[in-house]
């Protein structure tokens, strides 16, 4: 408890440190002007859109709101969204840990190139992320004729949507783990092995506790993006109601049919997910800041 108070005090003194120092203090009118500009922009571009989602979804009352969520097409969209995230996130979690392990614990040529390749999906337009799977598995794609001959559907079906989601959420976990594990080095794992731990014991008792917060954060971000992805999934989905519609695609369909309240009701669930993600993120950052404080205090004589 006392520790928490120290951390809070430290963060406050961050800004106070600048405000107390004549060399770094801005005149009051400058502070007022900058704050007005910054916060005005914040309210206009971030806060208002967030509030609008919830107000618009409840415009016609709770009954209409709930009805829009329990309607069969909405339920099937929610189920499909959970299913796709349930496949994509664990796969990218395993990949993220494996990639971070290889990159941070060993030296090999081409490492920097590998890191750049892992980041690649972030710089590709979601629309292109969907397109590439159409080019590989679509009717006119590389494997198209073979898939049709064997009656396997990937594009305009769930497998294609899973693939597109894996592509766009590919870097999230690896990206959170790599910088952290790089600073942690390999001494602790090597010590565990020298003391007789097996590879799995070493990973479970040494590595995992060290990376758990970053891992959780990466998974949370990966999940938010997986459930909210629109462009990539839209290209490969085929938009079959009740079958290949995820929540974001369902929002689009309702919106284009002028069912605005229903569209915002489904959108509000996704906005809630975004808020939960931000709360977890803030908590994880606070936790790791605390761990860092404890670590530096422990090192100080």
């Amino acid at each position: 408890m006392a520790l928490g108070a120290t951390t809070l005090g430290d963060t406050r003194s961050g800004a106070a440190r600048f405000e107390a120092n004549t060399a770094t203090r801005d005149p009051p009118w400058v502070k007022a002007a900058i704050l007005a500009g910054a916060l005005g922009f914040f309210v206009l571009f971030l806060l208002l859109p967030l509030i609008a989602v919830f107000v618009e979804s409840l415009r016609r009352g709770w009954q209409v709101y709930l009805a829009a969520l329990v309607e069969p097409d909405a339920l099937s969209a929610i189920w499909l969204t959970l299913l796709i995230a349930g496949i994509a996130v664990p796969l990218n979690l395993v990949f993220g840990v494996a990639a971070a392990w290889a990159i941070t614990k060993f030296d090999f040529p081409g490492k920097q190139l590998l890191i750049t390749f892992i980041d690649l999906p972030f710089s590709v337009s979601p629309v292109i992320a969907g397109l590439v799977f159409v080019l590989v598995f679509g009717a006119q794609g590389w494997f198209g004729p073979w898939l049709i001959a064997n009656d396997i559907k990937i594009i305009f079906a769930v497998p294609g949507m899973v693939l597109a989601t894996i592509f766009v959420t590919f870097p999230f976990v690896a990206r959170e783990l790599i910088p952290l594990m790089q600073t942690q080095g390999r001494d602790e794992e090597e010590a565990a092995l020298v003391l007789g731990a097996s590879g799995w014991q070493m990973f479970k008792k040494v590595t995992l506790p060290n990376i758990k917060w970053a891992l959780l954060y990466g998974v949370i971000l990966c999940n938010a993006r997986a459930m909210g992805e629109f462009g990539a999934v839209s290209v490969v989905s085929g938009h079959i109601r009740g079958q290949t519609n995820t929540m974001p695609l369902h929002v689009e369909i309702l919106y284009n049919e002028y069912q605005f309240t229903a569209a915002f009701a489904v959108a509000s669930l996704l906005a809630l997910l975004a808020l939960v993600t931000l709360v977890v993120k803030t908590y994880v950052e606070w936790r790791s800041a605390q761990v860092a404080t404890v670590a530096t205090e422990g090192e100080a004589p």
């Binding site: 900058i34 910054a38 916060l39 494996a98 060993f106 090999f108 337009s125 092995l193 803030t282």
Partner: protein, 280 residues
């Protein structure tokens, strides 16, 4: 020499397994599918390729996508800097909430942002109803595209500038003040040059994200050909018309731009790290 170095660190287990899995997964999910775009494009004759990527409607979409993205990134650089400055330097009520919500565009699905911004800026919307009598139309015009791109790009600038600003030693500002510089002079001649690499990195990240953005834009843009149609939408439209070669050719152009931007961003990030390391 190199091999000896590699072997020396293979005390830990799992090198072959983890690297093998990483390379296989990366190739299957990212590299091979992406290569399909270029292999398909290279099968086209140059005339066919050029026709697909330089038709007037496509060129108009480049102008809108790149123009609006540049302008949005520039606006975000200015206001992102002000927000980062406020979060690091000032105390004000609600600061923690503002800090947490900066990442909203990362977490909020783009389709949700799209319909919400449209609800705000449509003719009868929350803000649109006050702008309409003034003759200002935002939704269903290129300005609407700009608004959506500002929304999705903002966190990139704030989150790039904020840590650098936090690590900035107050000593250089104190030195400048001692040497007789005014506050404005100090910020302009001492603080801003130190932040320049971070500001440029944030600008480039916001720009790169905006160029490929689809979900938040299509609701508010109105998608009029030649006027408010972005390049990613052109790809989708061509796909829906079964014009796979056309879609692939335009995608190849966008991918090349993305790769160039990635190189620029990597360079800028290296510059940011070196610059902040030196100042510290």
């Amino acid at each position: 020499m190199l091999m000896a170095h590699v072997r020396a660190h293979r005390v830990l287990p799992g090198f072959g397994l983890s690297l093998g899995f990483t390379l296989a997964y990366l190739s299957l999910i990212v590299l091979i599918p992406l290569s399909a775009v270029f292999l398909r494009t290279s099968a086209l004759s140059f005339e066919a390729f050029w026709q697909a990527v330089s038709s007037p409607r496509v060129v108009a979409s480049y102008r809108l996508s790149f123009g609006a993205s540049l302008l949005a990134a520039a606006i975000n650089t200015v206001f992102g800097f002000l927000l980062a400055w406020s979060l690091v330097r000032y105390r004000f009520p609600g600061k923690r909430i503002v800090d947490a919500l900066i990442d909203l565009p990362f977490a909020l699905p783009t389709a949700v942002a799209g319909i919400s911004l449209t609800a705000l800026y449509a003719q009868n919307g929350w803000l649109g109803q006050f702008l309409e009598p003034l003759g200002i139309k935002i939704a269903f015009t290129p300005v609407g595209v700009l608004i959506a791109l500002i929304f999705i790009g903002l966190p990139f600038v704030v989150r790039t500038v904020q840590p650098v600003l936090e690590d900035l030693d107050t000593e250089i500002e104190e030195a400048a003040a001692c040497l007789g510089a005014g506050r404005l002079q100090t910020v302009r001649r001492v603080v801003l040059p130190t932040l320049l690499p971070a500001l440029l990195t944030g600008f480039a990240l916001a720009f790169a994200r905006a160029v490929g953005e689809y979900g938040s834009v299509i609701f508010i843009a109105g998608n009029l050909p030649m006027v408010s149609e972005i390049t990613p939408l052109i790809i989708i439209t061509k796909l829906e018309q079964y014009d796979y070669t056309g879609a692939t050719a335009v995608a190849a152009v966008m991918l090349v731009v993305s790769f160039l931007l990635l190189l620029v961003i990597n360079g800028l990030q290296g510059w940011t790290d070196r610059r902040s390391a030196r100042v510290r």
